[in-house]
């Protein structure tokens, strides 16, 4: 082996190491949180959250933080949380875990042991929440999660973990229920899933629901994280000529999927995608090509939920407040984030104390109406009070089409072929 080749090989090793290192990074404290002082509040309630404020999940982390902050500001402006004759002013403290789940665990522990946070709001996603819940259970500190929905996260016997999002199984069920009530319901389903914890869990829940309704799964393809071409799974599915194409992944993947469906003239009668179409950036990226895509979601601004003026008012009021403050459209994640605050507040008021163990017990039996929806946790701590909403993109707008009480429009089915749009 010549010197230059050895040189080349060692360079290869170095680049590989550096590229891998980019996914990691070390811990530095994030920015301290704000929150306005609110009149008569006397004591401070410290709530901690580790969030991915930089790295791959920076966008999701920012949205979640905005939701937490909006709740903290609103509750402080209303005089804080009353409990046991005192009023508590909320202070948020954040650390940036740089989209690295192992860092999330360490930072949640730091929040509890060094900063003495009395409650924890969840990190982003099922993976990080699962990891962090070991720590919150160890120290008996309640953690409320606005972004974990995988059943596996909640089936570890954790007592202090509560999730606002409805379980994944309901996501699949709601999507298939809507399609199966059509006059000429679809018979065949093809599924393309990102090979990743959450997208795969949703894909499997849709698969199970479709089978239960007597639909045939004609193909189930998985693509790797970060795929820059989805033509192969799309062509495989297209060859089976399915009535419904289900695509799971994140916004990046699903924008690519829809773009390539058009390129390849793939025309199923319906396209169901999650999660991506509920983000405004999806519609902005695809323009008119985003139309007719169906997506299950946990929350939408058009839903008829309200807290009767106690905190934010209705779902629409919250969406308006959020848009005014942060200048971008709210989605389910940022709504569930503020929902965590609303739920914690209700539990503290019900318990009459900020003692974490008693607040935990109050959470377990809580039944309350919030702007996010009716809240009721099941035995493993997942909120089953708020149902799944199905939206369809129509003329660039997210239109709720199911369940009937939340629907503001009708499902357009079958969707027109690409050539006829």
């Amino acid at each position: 082996m010549s010197a230059s080749v050895r040189h080349f090989a060692s360079s290869l090793a170095l680049v590989t190491a550096l590229v891998l290192a980019a996914c990691g990074g070390s811990a530095v404290p994030g920015r301290g949180a704000e929150g306005q002082t609110g009149g008569s509040a006397t004591e401070t309630l410290l709530i901690g959250a580790a969030l991915p404020l930089t790295g791959d999940l920076a966008r999701e982390g920012k949205q979640q933080k905005d939701g937490y902050d909006l709740w903290a500001e609103t509750v402080n402006a209303k005089g804080g949380i009353p409990a046991g004759g005192k009023r508590y002013r909320v202070e948020m403290r954040y650390y940036d875990y740089k989209s690295d789940n192992t860092q999330a665990v360490k930072l949640v522990e730091k929040l509890i042991t060094e900063d003495h946070a009395q409650f924890i709001f969840g990190p982003y996603g099922s993976g990080a929440t699962l990891a962090a819940s070991a720590v919150t259970d160890k120290y008996e500190v309640p953690m409320l999660s606005p972004s974990a929905s995988s059943e596996s996260v909640f089936q570890q016997g954790r007592r202090y973990l509560f999730g606002l999002l409805a379980p994944n199984a309901l996501v699949g069920q709601a999507s298939i229920d809507l399609l199966s009530t059509l006059p000429a319901p679809p018979q065949t389903v093809a599924i393309i899933s990102r090979n990743d914890l959450f997208p795969k869990a949703v894909a499997q829940s849709i698969e199970a629901a479709a089978r239960a309704r007597g639909m045939e799964i004609v193909s189930f393809e998985e693509y790797p994280i970060g795929a820059s071409d989805l033509s192969t799974p799309l062509l495989t599915a297209k060859a089976r000529n399915p009535d419904v194409l289900v695509g799971t992944g994140y916004t990046n993947d699903l924008v690519l999927m829809t773009r390539q469906m058009k390129e390849l003239r793939f025309n199923p009668k319906a396209t169901v995608q999650t999660t991506g179409p509920t983000y405004a950036s999806y519609t902005e990226a695809l323009g008119a090509d985003a139309n007719y895509v169906i997506s299950p979601t946990w929350w939408a601004p058009g839903l008829p939920y309200t807290d009767s003026g106690k905190l934010f008012g209705s779902a629409a009021d919250y969406a308006r407040l959020f848009q005014d403050k942060y200048k971008y459209e709210v989605d389910y994640a940022a709504a569930a984030a503020a929902g965590c605050g609303a739920v914690l507040q209700a539990a503290i008021e019900a318990a009459g104390t900020i003692d974490p163990v008693r607040v935990r017990d109050a959470l377990a039996t809580l039944e309350v109406n919030t702007f996010y929806g009716p809240i009721k946790f099941n035995e493993v701590g997942q909120n089953t009070g708020t149902g799944i909403t199905i939206i369809q993109i129509q003329n660039g707008q997210q239109v709720p089409v199911a369940p009937p009480e939340a629907a503001t429009g009708r499902l357009m089915y079958p969707m027109p072929e690409w050539d006829r749009r």
Binding site: S4, V5, F8, A22, Y223, N252, S281, Y282
Partner: protein, 291 residues
């Protein structure tokens, strides 16, 4: 295996490979001439993509014109970065160049996230998603145009390197630094120019990518990785090598996915890399000692 599916996978592989080749071209040039492995190359691709995107959204500029403008802007940025930053370590051990460009990558990417958020974006024009049907195969217009531009850029670089005095000076610098200095070639200028050309090619590739694929500020490192694989496959500092390596990687990814399942897409690319390094460590078109 359905032959129609395989044929379409081949077409998509070639179209994707053209973009990989263009990304790798500048990366390979800088590495070959300056012995700098530019980890921030992907960040330049991202900046080119976002320049094109913002010109399209903000000024309504046609993305092909936008990509041309992005090329020019990235040339200027590359020139300045080399002159004032990269030049500090250009003769240091290669590990220093990795650390510096890795840091540069972090700075560019995170500033971009702060400025533009991490949102996914894409340029959608009237042509997006449309294509020409050839028998059982579909060739999307924009991807085909991107491949054509990539081929033209490779040809242009080849002619520049082969036919001009400046190109000869760059080649001379690559072959023997001391001798090049001895005959009066201004090495600092050649280095800045080479890095600028590398950045310009990255910017052009980014502009083309923004028309066909979704873009985010964190997209860059994927492309740095692809560029590295392509360079290793095709041979270092070799323009035809970048083209061959790029097309090979694109086709291997899509056809391999069609044969083995899409889950193997990335594994196939890297398996190919390992195979080439074992069988032919200089890359397919590389020559021993040329690196």
């Amino acid at each position: 295996m359905d032959s129609g599916l395989l044929g379409q996978a081949l077409v998509n592989g070639i179209l994707l490979g053209g973009l990989y080749a263009l990304v790798a071209l500048g990366f390979s040039l800088v590495w070959g001439v300056m012995n700098v492995i530019n980890v921030s190359h992907g960040a330049f691709v991202m900046l080119g993509a976002f320049t094109t995107y913002w010109l399209f959204v903000g000024a309504g500029l046609d993305p092909f014109l936008g990509a041309a403008l992005a090329t020019v802007l990235m040339f200027a940025l590359g020139y300045l970065l080399q002159k004032y930053v990269i030049n500090l370590i250009v003769r240091a051990p290669i590990f220093m160049t990795l650390i510096l460009t890795f840091g540069l990558n972090l700075v560019i990417v995170n500033l971009s996230i702060v400025a533009w958020t991490g949102d996914v974006r894409s340029i959608t024009t009237g042509l997006s998603g449309h294509g020409v049907v050839v028998g059982p195969l579909i060739v999307p217009y924009l991807r085909a145009a991107a491949l054509l531009v990539a081929l033209l850029a490779t040809l242009a670089l080849f002619l520049f390197m082969d036919r001009t005095r400046t190109g000869s000076a760059i080649r001379a610098t690559r072959m023997d630094l001391l001798a090049a200095e001895g005959v009066g070639i201004r090495i600092d200028y050649i280095y800045a120019l080479t890095f600028a050309i590398g950045a310009a090619l990255a910017g052009l590739a980014g502009g083309l990518i923004s028309m066909t694929l979704p873009i985010t500020p964190i997209m860059g490192l994927t492309y740095t990785g692809k560029a590295f694989v392509v360079t290793a496959l095709g041979g270092l500092g070799n323009m035809a090598g970048a083209l061959v390596g790029g097309l090979l990687l694109g086709v291997a990814e899509t056809v391999g996915a069609a044969l083995l399942g899409p889950g193997y897409q990335d594994a196939i690319g890297y398996a190919l890399l390992v195979l080439i390094l074992v069988v032919r460590p200089t890359g397919l078109l590389g020559r021993v000692g040329y690196a």
